[in-house]
Every structure is written in C-alpha cells, then in structure tokens.
Amino acid sequence: MVKDTRKYAIEIDGILYYLSRNKLEQIVELNDIEGDKWFISDMQEAITRTMTIEAPVRYAEVMVRKKLQESGEFAEPVSIITHWKKKKGRNTTDIFFTALPTRLFYRYSEQIKEHEDSVILFPLFSSLYYVLKHMRPRNPGAIVFQHSRFADVIIGTKKRIYYANRCVAFDTSDEQISTLWSTVKAEIKTIESENRIKIEKVCFLNWIDSGVEPEWDEDMESKFYSFEEEAISFNEKEYHLSFLPALKMLSGVKGISPRTEKTLYYTQKWAPYLNALFLFASLLLLGGFFWYNQKVDLLQKDLVALEGKKVSIQMRATQKIPHIDYKETFSFVKDLASYQRAPSYKEVVNDISAALSSDMKVDILKMDYSRNGMMIEILGKVKAPFGMAYKGYQIFIKTLTKKGYIVKESRFNTEISNSEFFITFTKRI
C-alpha cells in the first residue's frame, strides 16, 4: 500500500490540526506547517445547505445570497461556495452550497495568498460530498460526520444532493450527544418523507472528540455503518478515525484555492517527474541530434561526390566533340559495296537470254543503274502462234521473277501469228 505523504491542515471547531502520515498534532497557525498542504476547514460562521431556487442555473448563487441576507442569517455580505447545482425545471435550480461571510472568505484567500507554500483549500462539506460520490449510491445515502457537539449531515445520490446541514447540541455531554443523534435521525426521516425517498445506508465519520458510535434504532430502516478507520496518534494517544481516510477521496483540482495556487501546487508536485521527462526528452533530442549529424555528414559526403561527378560531366559536355569527316569515306565505301553487289551487264544479259524461248527475239534492251537498284526495259517480238507465243512470254516473266527481278510494267500485243511484248523490270541492288 502506498503511504499518503500529503500534508493536511484541518480546521475543525476553531482548532487547527496538522496531519502528516499517521500523526496528528495541534498547531497554532497554518505557517507552522512547512511545504505544500491541503487545508480542510469547517470555516467557522459558515453554513452549508441545499436550496431550490427560482432562477436559472447561472444566477443561482446570486439568488442564494439574496435569500440568505433577506432571511437574516447573514447581516453582512456573504460569499457562496457551490459544491453542486443542477437545473430542475424551466426556471428552477437545485443547489448545494457553503455560505460564509465575505470578510471571512477574503481572510482565507489572503491567508492562502500570503502563505509561502501552495495551499489547496477545501470546505469541510467538500470532503463529505466526495465520500458520498465515492460511495456512488444508486439509492440515496447519508454521510454523518460527528465532531464535538456538531453533526454534519449530507444526504443524496451520486447525481443529486437532497440535504446538507449541521446539527448542533448544547454541549458534549452524553445526554446532549444522544439528543444530537436523535436530531440527525429525525432529519433523515423528514428528508425521506419530504422527498419520498428511502435512505439505504448511513455512513458515520468520526473525529478525535466524537462520542461513541450511536445505537441505531430498529425503527430506522436505513443501515448504519462506520467508514473505514485509520489509526492515528494524537497527544501520544492512539485514535481510530474515519474522517481522515475520507480526506483521501478529495481531488486537489476541486479545491477552492485560486487557479494559480493549484497550478503551482501541481507543478511542484510533478516537478521531479517533469524533470525526468525533460531529461529523457533532452537525451532523446541529443541522440537524435548526433544521429542526424551523422546522417548529414554522410549526405554531405555523397553530395561532394555527386558534385565532383557533376563537374566532370559538365566539363566533358563543354568539351568540343572532335569533328570526324567520315561522310566522304562512308559514301565512297557505300558506292564500292553497291558496285560489288550490282549484277554486271553480262549477268543480266545472260539471265534474259536464258529466259527467252526460241521464238522470242529482243529488239531493244535498256538497263539503267542507280545506287540502290536497276531498271530494265525489254521490247521484243515472238514469231509463233499466239498460244505458243504467250506461253513463252509467261515463262520468260516467271523465270526472271524467280531470279529476283520485279515486273513493273508488261504489255503483250498479238497479231495471231506474230506478237509483240514490252516489259519493264526492276531489281534491288
């Protein structure tokens, strides 16, 4: 179990106590406690109530203040500390508050402000409210804190507060304390009746000057029990108190100290953790810095190498490409290759002679050469009947075509016994 190392100042019935760990001691003033602390006070002269106000939620406090002054409960300016409020109807608000004279409120504020360390202030009923919230009762429950001749009572659920008040006895005699409990029981019954509710549990909180736990009448339907107790030493005497564990239900954020005070308190509280976090973040950043530096170095080296390459490429690009006069030589070699490939006059004449039939006679033969090809024109006669002549003409064309000659134009005219032909061939070289 983690020990509560928080320091508490508790002001009850006009006496100031200092609680640290399991030791309670009486002190004179707040400054007797060194360091940051939580200050729980019943704020003498303060009253705590619930009210139903005919006003919107926003103006509930104003109306409460007005009502309290009109009723004569406060003959001086009054400050309202709201613990809880909720819109009830269209123009109605339920409110649970602690009211105290403004001068007293300012005194507490000044006391906190002037204090060297951070102080988070809580009205006493705040702690009772947080015990109720902690219990999270579905059905209404009651918290009773009995100290000296007083009993502070709060009745409600986790969502609504029905009643809050301080019951008072004339003195701390057993008889009066018994009367005090009778009053508490009567109040509980009245609230049950007025609100048509049934209070299931009544939780009892005690203090060093609380009387013995009361006998709970059988006619009371609610179950009475003590909140968990904690052993405390006070004036070298051991007490089992349940009010002190109840303080642990409080949340510092809900204190009524100024926001700066709360901020300072939490800053100091978390400072070691924040320092560790910052240290870790710094180490992380430092590591990151070195890692990135290394990366940057590598990139710079790459950059330098690339720059060198770039300069080298640029220099090569700016150098004039040497002019090589190759065209004439190339053309000449091409010409020689063309002469080499070209069929000679004799070859062509032999091809034509071999393709001619015996009846065919060439009158004109023309061969014209270019670099890539040649063209041949043949004009001739066939002295034979048409059938033979045409057959010879066809064989002639076919034979030359097989040898790579391409027919570009061909004409065949006949006079039955004589025929004439004209053919143009081309051939690629």
Partner: protein, 102 residues
C-alpha cells in the same frame, strides 16, 4: 563516335579513300557485232584489282540505215578488220572503271 572513328581508321588502313582511286569513264555508242558485244560485256565486271560501275546499257537491233551505211563505209576502208563488216546491234554503254592507285 568510337564506332565511327574505328570505321574511318579501318577504311583508311584498307585504302578505301576516294582520292586514292582513279576513275576511268566508259562511253561507247556504236553498232557492233554480237561477238564484239559479248567481248565488251565480258570486261565490264568487277575483278580483284578494280570495280566496274555500271550506269547504262542500251542495245537495239534496229540500226538506222545511215548509221549502217557509215559503218559499212568505214569498214570497207579499214584494212585491219575485214571480218567486222557485219554489225548486229547498236550498243550504247556507259559506266566507269574504278582502280586503286598504288
């Protein structure tokens, strides 16, 4: 560039440069016998020492009478070739020999 350079060097080493070759133009236009024509054509081919560049060859068996007469007259006055009196074809041959100079 490297390939072009290599080609030029190779061509030079083999002497394949135009100014190292001589060109001899051939331009024949005359009536000839078949034997003469065959003899001429046999020479217009490539060999190991030269190239023949063919350009035009026109052969016609229709020789105009005046040309034939002129040829006959020339043939008659020629003492060297009494056999070449007969002309079969009119041969027109153009081309040239390309010879590498030593």
């Amino acid at each position: 560039m490297v390939r072009v350079d290599r080609f030029i060097n190779r061509a030079r080493s083999l002497g394949l440069e135009k100014d190292k070759w001589a060109y001899y133009d051939v331009n024949i236009q005359e009536p000839v016998s078949f034997q003469e024509a065959e003899k001429i054509l046999r020479q217009t081919t490539n060999s190991s020492s030269y190239y023949f560049k063919p350009a035009t060859l026109h052969v016609t068996t229709k020789i105009e009478p005046d040309k034939k007469a002129t040829q006959k007259k020339q043939s008659a006055t020629s003492a060297d070739s009494p056999e070449t009196k007969e002309r079969d074809i009119l041969l027109t041959l153009r081309g040239g020999f390309l010879v590498k100079q030593k």
